[in-house]
């Protein structure tokens, strides 16, 4: 298990794909079910390649996402930053997290991130709606195992 692959390109490609997925046009009823792709991928790398993606990179990626989505700057940036920091606190046992544990963790992180966004939304005066967040939270949590299985081969922990 000591085999470690350099994850650089996997990180770049996965984040680019996540960004594309977050602007991918989907049918109207599915809009609310869009997972927080970028957040999930960043959280994965923060836990599995902490020397490549730290909280500063998380902030930068979040800001890029804001520009892409034309949301207020740092709207996603702050949320991803907070989630990345919380995820980085699990550094010591990131390697021994089972799929079930990490899925629970991700559920918590997504909820926190969306709560941060709701607070920021309130600040801008647009007002957040928590009920509409539920499908997105569920979708993000459910898609997590797939993302994890896909990227785990580049994990820097064993």
């Amino acid at each position: 298990m000591a085999r470690r692959v350099n994850p650089f390109w996997a990180i770049v490609v996965s984040i680019l794909v996540a960004m594309l997925f977050s602007v991918m046009p989907v049918a109207e009823p599915l809009l609310l079910w869009r997972p927080d792709w970028v957040l999930l991928v960043v959280v994965f790398w923060v836990m599995h390649a902490p020397s490549y993606i730290g909280i500063w990179m998380a902030l930068i990626i979040g800001l890029l996402l804001d520009v892409l989505l034309a949301t207020p700057l740092a709207f996603h940036g702050t949320a991803i930053l907070v989630a990345a920091y919380l995820a980085s606190m699990t550094k010591r046992w990131g390697g021994v997290l089972s799929m079930r544990q990490s899925t629970l963790l991700v559920l918590g992180l997504v909820i926190v991130a969306r709560a941060v966004q709701s607070v920021l939304h309130l600040w801008t005066g647009l007002g957040g709606d928590l009920v509409h967040q539920l499908p997105g939270i569920a979708a993000s949590t459910l898609i997590w195992p797939a993302i994890m299985l896909m990227l785990i081969q580049w994990s820097q922990r064993s």
Binding site: M19, L20, S22, V23, M24, P25, V26, E28, L31, L32, R34, G54, I55, W56, L59, G62, L63, L64, V67, L68, L69, A70, T71, P72, L73, A74, F75, G77, T78, L81, V82, Y85, S88, M89, T90, K91, R92, W93, L120, W123, T124, L126, D129, H132
Partner: protein, 296 residues
Amino acid sequence: METVIKTSIFSKNNSDRRHFVMALMIALGVFYADLVRVPAALSARQGVYSLMEPAYVAMAVPGRLIEQISESVRLGAALQDENNQLRKQNLLYAAQLQRLPQLMSENTELRRLSEAELDVPAAVRLVEVIGVDPDPSRKIVIIRNEPGVKLYRGQPVLDANGVMGRIHRIGRQTARVILLTDRTHSVPVRVNRTGIRAILNGTGDADELSLQFVPEKSDIKIGDLLTTSGLGNDFPAGYPVARVTKIRRLGDDQFLDITARPIANLDRSRFLLALFDRPASSILLRPEESQNGETR
């Protein structure tokens, strides 16, 4: 080593936390700067957006492919339905067309009588919708911005039926059109039948607009057509916007509670028209900008 002894399951590294607090403060600072529209934040965003927007262009490719495929494998029943509908529509148009020559001659006659100038048709530019804003709480579409076309902020955008919305952000290859139904969109309109002026606001709902500031005793009926009034800065007069669908009298309010449905196919039209025509009143409001606004 002391962190190991702590009972918390999280490793608490002081330097990590310091970094986090710094990053968080920067994030909130950026958010605030963007919120109050500090020019530096706006120009930084504009610069980075040009780098990111190929994502939208790339994303439009599979969508178009899927559309082409689904078009070619569309089920027989759906095709038949559409065919029937088109035939019906065709008939309707043919009937309307029959009156056109008569109307034209009548029109030229009248024009000669009144010696009015011929109405110059406004310059338009066909633009293609290539994406939709992924945020379900906003109603924004992304269009392709071709080089050489000078789209401008606030420019009205129409589809074949009526007003769609206005352009609110322009990049190098794409532009974002904020639709009538967006919560932050409003357009000055008049009731075509009676001339009552009002403001039509988006509600965030896909086919519901809210007509504001119509006094309680006004003459307005369900089905009334609302057209742009030409007041304000962006929309020239006379373009159809919406039809009144519901009128409610609220007990003690001096205004009516009116909802309307947009006429344009906000969520289906793929090709839109960007209109290079400013209302007459915009010259009064912004004399310096109306000069260069009419580029084609």
